[in-house]
């Protein structure tokens, strides 16, 4: 049965204990490394020490994170916690999609990669009709034109563009 303490807890139960324990463990580990990762400078005031703010912040993380773990109404993980942790792991797939996109742009070019990436990811998400494919392609072109050609954001030309004819190459490097 749900206790009063559990009922008053803000947010869902699943995953809270795992998150709190991992957060606390990492905080303690980082605090343990403070002597190695920061310096103590002689003849310098305490507030001006390079170690002062890391100590304050990591101390706060350990203290408040510890109190948060103590105040949690659960002491054991349930199967729902593990399901939740698995779901967090599933989000890695999209992080890999993103990193794949990032790594391919400097090689193949912003426009070609975007033209492939958006429809492919849309297809992966279940949009397989011709209408959504058209929208995906339109969106990909619009993003490249607006950001690179109109707003001029800094995205360098790709290695592949070097193989284009001279006139076309500079156009592609500058605008696509």
């Amino acid at each position: 049965m749900t206790t009063e303490r559990e009922r008053r807890f803000v947010g869902p139960r699943r995953g809270q204990l795992i998150f709190a324990l991992v957060f606390l463990t990492l905080s303690v580990l980082l605090l343990a490394l403070i002597g190695e990762q920061t310096a103590w400078v002689k003849k310098t005031q305490l507030f001006a020490q390079p170690r002062f703010w890391p100590a304050i912040s990591l101390g706060g993380m350990v203290l408040l994170g510890g109190l948060h773990v103590y105040a949690l109404p659960w002491r054991r993980t349930s199967r729902y916690d593990l399901w939740e942790a698995r779901l967090w792991g599933r989000s890695l797939e999209f992080a890999f999609w993103f990193m794949g996109y990032v790594l391919l742009v400097p090689l193949v070019g912003y426009l070609p990669v975007t033209l492939v990436f958006v429809p492919l990811l849309a297809r992966r998400m279940g949009y397989r009709g011709g209408w959504m494919l058209g929208i995906s392609l339109g969106f990909a072109v619009a993003v490249v034109v607006v950001f690179k050609a109109v707003l001029g954001v800094r995205i360098p030309g790709a290695l592949l563009y070097d193989y284009l004819p001279a006139g076309l190459r500079s156009f592609f490097i500058l605008y696509l």
Partner: protein, 539 residues
């Protein structure tokens, strides 16, 4: 008058006009799409604004910030889903009005109330600017340190029931800010010998990860929802007339918005809550609140739209952002070597007034746009969630990669994206991390400068403003501790009321029987009976 003319002169440019138009229309569109929100849009557009003039870049971002709440009211009223988080209260009275066949009335009332809130706050702040210009120079290093500390404290205690973890996440933000080469003694802090950590963790990379990428992950792992839209009937201008019938609620709600907006870390939610409570308490028909009350809708929408202009006050006057969106805008100032703070008010007052005038024009543009384009605009709520996720993921690349063309930045952003996704799944706040990063940097610099001129710790608060700020910090802490103590007391009482163990004699006996049947119980009983036999043997 000269000040006003020079401010108008700053705004009289085609690129500023274009920025105003793009910001206002873009903001309304972004606000109207549930699941995107101004934080995602500002995070993505931030690097694109770095190549613009400060006034142009800030106008675009301010436009999105100021107009997204107008757009957010559309799905809140029509499909009971707030477009932005601050439109949640709008659903209470907006959706019931739609359900009883008055969607146009609700929309026009929301637009009119938002317009009044926005214009009221800008006018208040233009009138208030000379006073601010006099007060701002009184803020030295110590005062700015204490104001930043107060802002951080308010953000933490505002998360009721989650203050401990919000505090821990704010500390994480301060820690992230301290990573890298320390600028005074030139020592490395938590770089683990890695070159890419030498320059520290970039705020925009973290912002994009925590807000944009995490939102993309949430949408990509979500299911698409079927949206049913009601037909819009009735005139769009009736809201303006209806608003005029509730001058008291409108004025008080706008004032709450201005006041709460100026306090760092408080923002829209508190302003809305106070306005709504006030409107309900003073209404002749309090029973209508939550069932389609026009006063409730006015209170919620007026208060939240009065906040953006007011939230610029601590940012411009002291350089202290009160929430995540203004924290992102701070980076635009830094990129252009415009340092917000007392000096900005003294030297570039026309720039400050120009920003406020831009907000004023923006409110007019948005109202005109919405009055005529709502019918077409409502279609954006039909965009499927997962496709939105694809769009945000694609746009996030522009935001992160265009900063330094670094794949490492993208990797860090992806890491923070997963962290933000976990925080969203657990309903934990990400804003304290961003404010910790921004305010942590300010606090480090100002404390070092402030303590250099102080002989004893008490000298730190020997000036009037620093003393007042210190007292406010103590009061905030004391009131928070008091609230925690009361909550704990209430919990104990509730636990006692629901506890049956000590009050039910039958259960007590049953537990006693169970105890006797267990091995341990048998051992204890055997020991007791042995002692009893010895005792009897004595007599």
């Amino acid at each position: 008058m000269d000040l006003l003319l020079s401010a108008i002169d700053i705004l009289m440019r085609w690129d500023v006009a274009l920025a105003l138009l793009a910001g206002s229309v873009g903001g309304v569109l972004i606000g109207a799409i549930p699941g995107v929100g101004p934080a995602v849009a500002i995070a993505i557009l931030l690097p694109a604004t770095f190549s613009m003039d400060p006034i142009v870049g800030l106008t675009v971002l301010l436009g999105i910030y100021g107009s997204s709440m107008y757009g957010g009211a559309i799905p809140a009223i029509l499909i009971n889903t707030p477009g932005t988080a601050v439109n949640a209260l709008t659903t209470y009275d907006g959706y019931p009005m739609t359900a009883r066949g008055e969607p146009r009335r609700a929309l026009s009332l929301a637009y009119s109330a938002s317009f009044f809130g926005g214009v009221f706050s800008v006018i208040c702040l233009i009138l208030f600017a000379p006073v601010l210009a006099k007060v701002a120079p009184m803020f030295g290093s110590r005062e700015i340190f204490l104001a930043a500390l107060l802002g951080l404290l308010l953000v933490v205690v505002a998360h009721r029931g989650q203050a401990l973890i919000a505090g821990a996440l704010a500390c994480l933000g301060i820690f992230l800010n301290s990573v890298g080469m320390e600028p005074v003694k030139y020592t490395q802090r938590y770089t683990f010998g890695q070159d890419f950590l030498g320059s520290g963790v970039n705020l925009i990379v973290v912002v994009l990860g925590l807000f944009a990428l995490s939102q993309a992950f949430v949408l990509l792992m979500d299911e698409d929802e079927k949206v049913h839209l009601n037909k819009l009937r009735g005139g769009m201008f009736q809201g303006l007339r209806e608003l005029a019938r509730h001058p008291r609620v409108t004025a008080v709600s706008a004032s709450f918005g201005v006041l709460m907006g100026m306090i760092p870390g408080v923002g829209e939610f508190t302003a809305q809550f106070m306005s709504y409570t006030y409107a309900q308490k003073t209404s002749k028909r309090p029973q209508d609140f939550g069932h389609g009350s026009s006063e409730g809708l006015i209170a919620a929408e007026t208060a939240n739209n009065a906040v953006p202009a007011a939230a610029m006050v601590p940012l411009l006057a002291l350089g202290i952002p009160g929430e995540a969106l203004t924290a992102m805008m701070l980076s635009v100032f830094y990129v252009h070597n415009v340092v917000p703070g007392p000096a900005l008010f003294q030297n570039d007052m026309d720039f400050v007034v120009a920003l406020y005038l831009a907000l004023l024009v923006l409110n007019v543009l948005v109202l005109v746009f919405l009055l005529f384009a709502t019918r077409s605009l409502v279609q954006v709520v039909k965009i499927p969630n997962r496709f939105l996720g694809v769009c945000i993921l694609t746009l996030s690349f522009v935001g992160v990669y265009s900063l330094r063309n670094s794949a490492t930045d993208c990797l860090i952003a992806a890491g923070f994206g997963i962290f933000g996704f976990i925080l969203k799944r657990l309903s934990l706040p990400a804003v304290p991390i961003i404010l910790g990063m921004v305010l942590g940097g300010i606090m480090e610099v100002k404390l070092r400068a402030g303590m250099a001129r102080v002989k004893e710790p008490l000298d730190f608060i020997n000036r009037p403003i620093s003393f007042i700020l210190f007292i406010i910090i103590i009061l905030v802490l004391a009131s928070h501790l008091l609230r925690v103590w009361r909550d704990r007391k209430e919990l104990k009482e509730a636990e006692w009321q629901t506890k049956t163990a000590s009050t039910s004699f039958g259960q007590l006996m049953s537990r006693r029987k169970n105890s006797f049947l267990k091995d341990r119980g048998k051992e204890v009983r055997a020991r007791h009976s042995k002692l009893l036999r010895r005792l009897r043997g004595l007599f």
